[in-house]
Chain length 296, copies 2
């Protein structure tokens, strides 16, 4: 089997003493003027922006998480920038977590798995497409929709983070529904994720099958840590969505998007828009300090 990406991710987080994942969720209305270079070309500007952010944080954070929706927003040219962003981040030694939240019936899930964390075949040749190390996936369709991703993880050493309990305020509407046995639905999903992950435990003690667990639900998160003891959590919700360091359980990679990439807008870092990348670095250093007690 190929070297496991989960081991690389955990190793990097420990080595850098930093569980931060920088969310690359560019938004045109927040981009500094300088990345446009006088042109009204949003995808091009996004790539310039991402490149500068990646250069500014590559030596202090273990991973980036581009949110594909922000690229899909601009159609095929946006997706091209998603591809190039992932490639550049990997060149700079970062682990890439594609926040794609895909989920479909098995024959379709196979296509998503090959494109994002595997290889695609045509005319007897194999090639990578998006070449992410990890992808986030949605479990609503059940295990047969997850299995094609696990098969690819097995072949390639890549990984997934399955949505268990999301960070949004309305996540409870379905995820918290009480089952016949009195427990909330997300606990059942957690048990499934724990089971799927058992055959994927890496040398560093975590499974290639991770879980998305919103940091905005601290009580549930502690329970989920018990149900999934060897599962790395990807925790959105820190910063802009309100979660704090004390809400994070051990074994969590903590995502921040706006709080880092658009730090130049924050009075605390008071920087000219031209220095957006420096502001991002300062914010990432502050976040590392804030999260220094999180154990991976």
């Amino acid at each position: 089997m190929a070297e496991l990406r989960i081991d690389e991710l955990v190793y990097r987080a420990r080595h850098l003493k930093n569980p931060t994942v920088v969310g690359l969720d560019p938004r045109v209305e927040l981009l500094p003027e300088c990345v446009f270079g006088g042109k009204k070309d949003v995808p091009r500007a996004i790539y310039e922006f991402n490149k500068a952010i990646i250069d500014a944080v590559a030596d202090i954070v273990p991973a980036v998480k581009p949110q594909i929706a922000m690229y899909e927003l601009y159609g095929s040219r946006g997706i091209e920038v998603f591809e190039r962003t992932a490639r550049y981040a990997k060149e700079r030694g970062l682990i890439v977590i594609g926040d794609i939240k895909r989920g479909d019936i098995a024959s379709t899930a196979e296509a998503y798995a090959q494109a994002h964390i595997g290889e695609v075949n045509a005319f007897g040749e194999s090639f990578t497409v998006f070449n992410e190390d990890f992808a986030t996936i949605n479990p609503y369709l059940g295990e047969d929709s997850i299995r094609p991703f696990l098969d690819v993880c097995k072949q390639r050493g890549t990984g997934v983070f399955v949505l268990v309990k999301t960070s949004n305020p309305g996540s409870g509407q379905l995820q918290d529904i009480h089952m016949a046995d009195g427990r909330p639905l997300y606990e059942r999903v957690a048990e499934l994720v724990n089971g799927w992950g058992k055959e994927f435990i890496g040398a560093q003690g975590y499974s290639s099958v991770g879980a998305v667990v919103g940091a905005t639900h601290p009580a549930q998160t502690k329970r989920l840590r018990e149900l999934m003891p060897q599962t790395l959590f990807l925790a959105p919700g820190y910063g802009a969505q309100g979660a704090k360091a004390e809400d994070i359980v051990s074994g969590s990679m903590v995502n921040s998007s706006r709080g880092i990439i658009f730090a130049y807008k924050n009075d605390r870092y008071l920087r000219s828009p031209d220095d957006f990348a420096k502001a991002a670095r300062l914010a990432a250093l502050d976040m590392r300090r804030d999260l220094k007690d999180i154990k991976i």
Copy 2:
């Protein structure tokens, strides 16, 4: 408000006496040699294939449903073909249902909604990106993740089909979980979909908020029809996945992908690969005959 796409879809299905949706799920290993024109360029071949299929069925079916995973498989160039396929289908008068199954937190869902069934803004200008009439979406994140799609539907007259009960064999693992009141989870999702759709009922009697209900579960489908009386169903599972005409309830648009687009591989239509489009037309005509008793 713009003219409602749900009214157009229902009108076309009634006028053509055909509830068929042709799934445009191209697979390289099933494409006939002729669409390659001697070149080893899969995205280009897919577009040639789709164009011929669309030309062959545009006057007998109301809608096509491109499955975006089959395009995403080839990265940005594949997505470009998805864009061009949607555009060409609309030029030929077909309704386009983007089978994207997206679902994310509100600020991200907004980007998906704008890209797929809405408009994107940059520099004070608005433009369409994928320009689908409908998109399929995943409800696991709850109502706040659905609302941005509904906002766009309201502005633009487009629509969604929310996953309620999917067609795959393992769909029951989460969707059928018994809730504290003894009912399966998908019934709760159905009630939500019915509620969301109430303010979107069109002149033809159906809501712009539709539901994906797999035709492979006939008993559940009947119950879901009761719970969502004004909801148009998008029913996958006919043909290759095993569902038959007698399994379909009224008010269902019935998808067939392989059974139509790759009919040239079926002995019944015995055609040379060069006549793949003619075979698709014959299969679509057979499907219309088979579904003649389905009321929309």
